[in-house]
């Protein structure tokens, strides 16, 4: 399904089929994949299967601790979820919010990668150190730091802007904006480092050839560099989509569990408040399944769109 996601620059010859019998390779592959398979089958696939099973039951804390009998509900949890107008609101907000975060991280990350490739080593190192610092900051720590910087009374931002007493988390869009800024801050470095590595890997001859042909800078960027970077950009995009769609900590911490009257809920926080904190694990499992399917479809659509354009 995703063969061209392989980060292979064009112009590199495709690998010739290895010599030797196919069966030997399959056996070796099985052996090499054994540790990973055991771990992933046992600790991801099997719990995932159970998650689906749980989503068909009325399964809460009393059921988990064996104090109440299990009741099979069929698709009731899904019906409850899909029939809840709030779910659709939250879904729409999540998609838009995640899209903003993904686009923001990709734009900032790519722009800074280009910038870094044109700078001298020392300033470049400074930029990389700063970016790595942002990347290394745990989500919990980062959320609190940003919240404190934007605190209405004691925050540096209000002091600088002369907005004493202004609350950044009261209005829906301003709260989402603040959280998105924090997310872009801590997720652009991954994009930047990846894209920088990609730019560095472009053979200088290619660029020289473009320059000799009299191509302008923009032209070079769009028709020479971008196609080479496309596979990498695709990896960065898919990873960003997966991460940003599932954002939890930043929203939970910075908007106080979903904002005024739940205005800043995203799916993962919604699942937590609707189901897990209230100990309705069956419903929570259904939300988890729906989220996985949604993410899968979004990623699938993206991959297909990429295939068509390339």
């Amino acid at each position: 399904m995703l063969p061209q996601v392989t980060p292979a620059a064009p112009g590199v010859r495709t690998r010739p089929a290895r010599r030797g019998p196919q069966r030997g390779q399959a056996r070796a592959a099985a052996l090499y994949l054994l540790p990973t398979s055991v771990i992933l089958l046992g600790l991801l696939a099997y719990p995932l299967y159970q998650l689906v099973v749980i989503s068909f039951y009325d399964y809460g804390q009393p059921q988990a601790s064996g104090a109440a009998p299990l009741v099979f509900l069929g698709f009731d949890n899904y019906v409850t979820l899909l029939g809840d107008p709030q779910f659709w609101d939250v879904l729409a907000a999540t998609v838009v919010f995640a899209a903003v975060c993904v686009v923001g991280s990709l734009l900032v990350g790519t722009a800074l990668a280009v910038l870094a490739s044109r700078a001298n080593p020392l300033p470049r190192m400074l930029l990389f150190l700063a970016a790595l610092g942002a990347w290394a900051t745990p989500a919990m720590a980062g959320s609190y730091v940003w919240l404190f910087m934007f605190d209405q009374d004691f925050g540096i931002v209000n002091e600088v802007l002369g907005l004493a007493g202004h609350s950044w988390t009261f209005e829906r869009f301003s709260a989402f904006g603040l959280v998105a800024a924090e997310i872009v801050w801590c997720s652009f470095p991954f994009v930047m480092v990846t894209m920088y590595a990609g730019i560095k890997a472009i053979a200088p001859e290619v660029l020289e050839a473009a320059a000799l042909d009299g191509a302008s800078a923009t032209r070079t960027a769009t028709s020479v560099i971008l196609p080479i970077l496309r596979p990498l950009l695709m990896i960065a995009t898919i990873q960003s989509i997966i991460w940003d769609f599932k954002v939890f900590t930043q929203i939970y911490v910075m908007t106080g569990g979903g904002g005024v009257a739940g205005q800043n809920l995203v799916l993962n926080v919604f699942a937590y408040q609707k189901a897990f904190a209230g100990e309705q694990y069956g419903l929570g499992a259904a939300i988890g399944v729906v989220m996985t399917v949604l993410l899968l479809s979004i990623t699938g659509l993206y991959v297909r769109a990429q295939r068509r354009t390339s």
Partner: protein, 277 residues
């Protein structure tokens, strides 16, 4: 001339990006009166370790720190070996179902982990009946689940590095009579080391930052608590103790930062390797 503009932009942006970290450390060092001041200043003339002292006064802070480190290092080490082998299999061998496996690795990253805590809880509980070291209340249980959650991404990342090693090398090794196994460990492994570093960064963060599973699996017994659990007491904006929150945040960030800076060179060159494919 243009290069100088790029240099300047780099430095300015670096300052902006680093500012939240600076603010975090600065606020952790400010005396209580200055943190609560209505006109915050970007420096302090009276740095104090009071906030850190409050946080470090947590009973057994050192032990929690060590526990977190043990879990993170074990996850990194195990995931390196497993993901390296898997990446080799997925890039250098041809077999049926390869693409399916790749897609599965992607799907594995899409499941919201919060939803999996309940099934994993009961699974880990059953493990404990057979191998106590990976049961509930043990650090081993955390190692196992973080291993599972960091492997898919690590494999994805490593595939590019492994693919970047030219086939000629393997052919030459085969001519020299080296077995596939020896080639894998003695030639391939050192060659993709930078990539391994890059992949380990993500596994490390994953394991180090975890609250969720630590909270779910470590029910009784304080001896196995990890650092985030110990710091949870301070992450309460209600108390308005921003100094302690910032000190706690700093203490959580520093080890990851040290790890990042230590592997920084390999990280960039490593990801570079991924592209040459």
């Amino acid at each position: 001339m243009r290069k100088r503009a790029a240099d300047l932009a780099c430095v300015l942006i670096a300052l902006v990006v680093a500012f939240p970290l600076y603010w975090m450390v600065l606020s952790a060092l400010k005396p209580a009166g200055e943190i609560q001041a209505a006109d915050p200043r970007p420096w302090t003339l009276a740095p104090t370790l009071d906030s850190f002292r409050r946080v470090l006064a947590v009973e057994d802070f050192g032990l929690y720190f060590l526990n977190s480190l043990v879990v993170a290092v074990a996850v990194v080490a195990l995931s390196l070996v497993a993901s390296f082998l898997a990446a080799v299999a997925l890039t250098r061998f041809r077999f049926r179902g390869r693409t399916v496996l790749l897609v599965m690795l992607l799907v594995a990253q899409m499941v919201p982990v919060e939803a999996l805590t309940i099934p994993l809880f009961f699974l880990v509980r059953s493990f404990g009946d057979v191998v106590p070291a990976v049961g509930l209340n043990e650090l081993g249980s955390l190692v196992l689940v973080h291993l599972a959650f960091s492997l898919p991404f690590a494999i994805w990342m490593l595939r590019g590095f492994v693919a970047a090693v030219p086939d000629d090398l393997e052919e030459a090794a085969a001519l020299d009579g080296a077995s596939r196994f020896r080639f894998t460990w003695q030639v391939l492994f050192p060659l993709v080391a930078p990539g391994l570093v890059a992949a380990s960064v993500v596994s490390f963060i994953h394991a180090w930052n975890d609250f969720l599973f630590a909270k779910t699996f470590l029910i009784s017994g304080t001896d196995n608590r990890t650092l985030p659990l110990g710091l949870l007491v301070f992450f309460k904006p209600e108390e308005q103790d921003w100094g302690a929150i910032m000190a706690g945040a700093t203490l959580m960030t520093v080890p990851v930062l040290v790890f990042f800076v230590a592997v920084q060179r390999h990280l960039v060159s490593g990801l570079g390797g991924a592209v040459k494919g």
